[in-house]
């Protein structure tokens, strides 16, 4: 860091944004060089919430390690668990009952909406509007209540087990999801009134943090971040898992590549998730919610990889097995890490206030980046 300071030119100031800063939503440390209000360089420093989850997983059995992945991207914990379970099922060649598949997809999409709701509120709060945060939490709370009733927890559910789901859905589940959909549809117009249509908000977002499609690919961005630049990367469409092939939904693409495009991708994705839920909620097939599996799982020798689309982008699980009861090596590909790497490129030349908008639209969850 000393030579960093030596390299700066006249008038440059180095500021530490974080690890304790309201805009980083966690313990991310950004070392930014600014000249006046203009950003010249952003250097993310990681490691403040590193818990060595990958190493931890090596000492846990295949049933046990799934719950740890909830602690990475805690906003889409369910989808993380889903990826692990899919990877194990691929290795063990377990046929998951169709009822379990539908329940899993329903929960995935509910999680995605909950995650985007929180992002939407926090995004507006980063830009200085506090009220949308509470309005977003009203809808998110309804999803959390549904989760609590069926999975027993609100954030780190650990509902998915290899071969299916842990418990059958609660008898009230379908009715409450339908209530949520009608609540969401009655309130989604307010989002446009409060934030999307607002002239101040649009000026803060449009043309800010431009990321071209080529750059998005070369930085390895996935999820809404890349789709805002017009890169097709929805894993649900490209490499369908579970029952996504049979569902009608659109991959949202915006071509502008700025913060507003990324914002619009997420807002429109919520509507697509609602669409998926509407298709499934009345068509949950009867049957088992869990396939018969052995008490102790032993993955055959080999390498297994599975990717899913979380709320933030492509999440991958890579397991190397030696044939024992614990994995030999686990590697997670987390979307936040790659998306964060584009921040420096996007931020150069823009104002300090824009950095907050860019970090908001990247939808950073720090434990996901740091693991």
């Amino acid at each position: 860091m000393v030579e960093e300071i030596g390299r700066t030119t006249e008038g440059d100031v180095i500021i530490n944004v974080g690890p304790q800063h309201p805009a980083t939503h966690g313990v991310l440390h950004l070392l930014i060089t600014i000249n006046g209000e203009t950003i010249k360089k952003v250097e993310p420093h990681l490691g403040f919430i590193h818990r060595s989850i990958e190493k931890m997983c090596e000492s846990l059995s295949y049933r046990q390690f799934i719950y740890v992945t909830s602690r990475m991207d805690y906003l889409s914990s369910h989808i993380n668990n889903h990826a692990c379970a899919l990877c194990l099922e691929k290795g063990l060649q377990i046929e998951v009952p169709s009822r379990a598949q539908v329940i899993r997809v329903l929960m995935d999409e509910l999680t995605r909406i909950a995650s985007h709701e929180l992002w939407w509120g926090a995004m507006a709060m980063d830009l200085g509007a506090f009220t949308p945060f509470f309005h977003a939490f009203r809808e998110r709370e309804t999803i959390n209540d549904i989760m609590e009733e069926t999975c027993g927890a609100r954030l780190t559910m650990n509902y998915i087990v290899p071969g299916g789901v842990m418990q059958d859905i609660h008898p009230n589940f379908q009715q409450r999801v339908k209530d949520f959909i009608s609540l969401y549809k009655s309130k989604v117009g307010e989002y446009d009134e409060l934030v999307t249509g607002n002239i101040i908000f649009q000026n803060r977002m449009k043309g800010v943090g431009y990321l071209s499609a080529e750059d998005a690919i070369s930085f390895g961005c996935t999820g809404p971040t890349a789709r805002g630049s017009g890169v097709t990367c929805d894993i649900r469409k490209l490499y369908p898992y579970e029952i996504y092939e049979q569902l009608q939904f659109d991959e949202i693409l915006e071509t502008a590549g700025d913060s507003f495009a990324r914002y619009m991708v997420r807002v429109r994705e919520m509507n697509q998730s609602i669409r998926i839920i509407e298709q499934l909620i009345d068509n949950i097939p009867e049957g088992d919610f869990q396939a018969k599996t052995k008490a102790v799982l032993k993955l055959p020798k080999g390498e297994f990889y599975q990717r899913v689309e979380t709320a933030r982008g492509e999440f991958g699980v890579y397991i190397v097995s030696e044939g024992g009861t614990t994995p030999y090596r686990i590697k997670f590909r987390s979307p936040g890490f790659s998306n964060l790497s584009a921040l420096d490129h996007m931020a150069r030349g823009s104002k300090l206030g824009d950095l907050v908008a860019m970090m908001g639209t990247l939808d950073l969850v720090i434990p996901d980046i740091d693991r």
Partner: protein, 358 residues
């Protein structure tokens, strides 16, 4: 009848009967000082509670409801907390300026209280250049912010102070121009004369669309001048943590906090005086009965009612809009507000010369 002017007159005559003229003045000054300070304290308590309740209801929350009946004493409890907190001075700070800055902020706010007419014939200082005095003194506020930002020895504070400097210097212009449009219509800089000129109707109604535009520009400009959201770039907690008062704690922070709220009160009082007729009651043309009922309401109630309506307006802005960026903030002023208010002033002048108002 019990009114502020009668009370002050009876105190004055009582004092004059017992003391000579010099002593009377000294005692009256002390009384006025005590009144201003207690008004400060009350305003701080009331406005903080009001802001918290307004924000809570807009955010579908309940707001403070534990301390005292319906949470009325919440801000009192907060004050006690701030009083007993340690006021720290960071290492490497310019100690003298660091400790001076909050007092400058509060002194400026106190000075601004002088020309405001709180009720009929109730004013600390009826000066003939009241409007000029207010716009001149209110720009001193930026000095305390710059001082705090510089003396804190903190990059965030400095950036907040610099932002605030750019902001207040620019927005002074359109605030001044929109005030000028009323001065043009009245032909006086005396706040009392301005109020009396609105006896047959407030300027916002008498002045047609140009005065409405002037009012909108005025409310935007004073929101920016008092560093309130959506123009709170000097604090901007998501960017600069807390801006110029990042390093302040305890009572020194509370003084900044208090100065912000008192400034909001003062600019709203000026706005109410200029555009809504100060303590003038609401009259409609020839409805004698209605007008008499309105006259029966005390003038101080009218004044505080109008002021608090404007304060609510500013709070309403704060809890609805996102924050502007610094370049957009300056663009808004120099590309939109200033040209519009200059053109508007021209319109108002033409209107005043041709007598196109009621």
């Amino acid at each position: 009848m019990l009114s502020f002017s009668n009370i002050s007159k009876s105190i004055d005559s009582g004092l004059r009967a017992t003391f000579d003229a010099t002593w009377t003045m000294v005692i009256e000054m002390v009384i006025a000082g005590v009144c201003v300070i207690s008004l400060f304290a009350i305003l701080g308590l009331v406005l903080v509670l009001m802001e918290r309740k307004v924000s809570a209801w807009m955010q579908i929350r309940l707001g403070p409801n534990r301390v005292g009946p319906k949470g009325m004493l919440q801000s009192l409890a907060d004050t006690v907390k701030l009083l007993v907190k340690e006021g720290m001075t960071p290492d490497g700070a310019d100690k003298f300026l660091f400790n001076l800055a909050p007092f400058i902020a509060i002194i400026v706010a106190m000075l601004l209280m002088a020309p405001i007419a709180f009720a009929k014939d109730f004013q600390l200082w009826d000066m003939n250049i009241g409007v000029l005095y207010v716009s001149a003194v209110s720009s001193l506020m930026v000095i305390s912010i710059l001082m705090a930002g510089w003396a804190s020895n903190n990059k965030y504070s400095l950036m907040g102070a610099m932002r605030s400097g750019a902001q207040i210097v620019s927005y002074e212009l359109s605030a001044g121009l929109s005030i000028l449009s009323i001065v043009v219509l009245t032909g006086s800089l005396n706040l009392n004369d301005i109020i009396l000129s609105q006896a047959n109707g407030w300027w916002i109604f008498k002045g047609h669309i140009p005065v409405m535009i002037a009012f909108i520009i005025f409310i935007i400009a004073v929101t920016a001048e008092t560093n309130r959201a959506p123009f709170d770039l000097a604090e901007a907690e998501s960017e600069l943590t807390a801006g110029f008062h990042t390093e302040y704690s305890g009572m020194k922070f509370a003084l900044f906090f208090l100065a912000e709220y008192v400034n909001v009160f003062i600019v709203c009082a000026i706005g109410a005086t200029l555009f809504f007729g100060g303590w003038m009651p609401f009259h409609i043309g020839h409805w004698e009965g209605f007008n008499q009922v309105m006259d029966f309401i005390p003038s101080s109630v009218w004044f505080f009612g109008k002021t608090f309506f404007l304060i609510f307006l500013i709070m309403w802005f704060r809890w609805t809009f996102p924050r502007l960026r610094i370049d957009q903030l300056l663009n808004l002023e120099w590309k939109y507000l200033l040209p519009i208010s200059m053109f508007n002033l021209l319109l108002v002048t033409a209107m005043a010369i041709l007598g196109w108002y009621f």
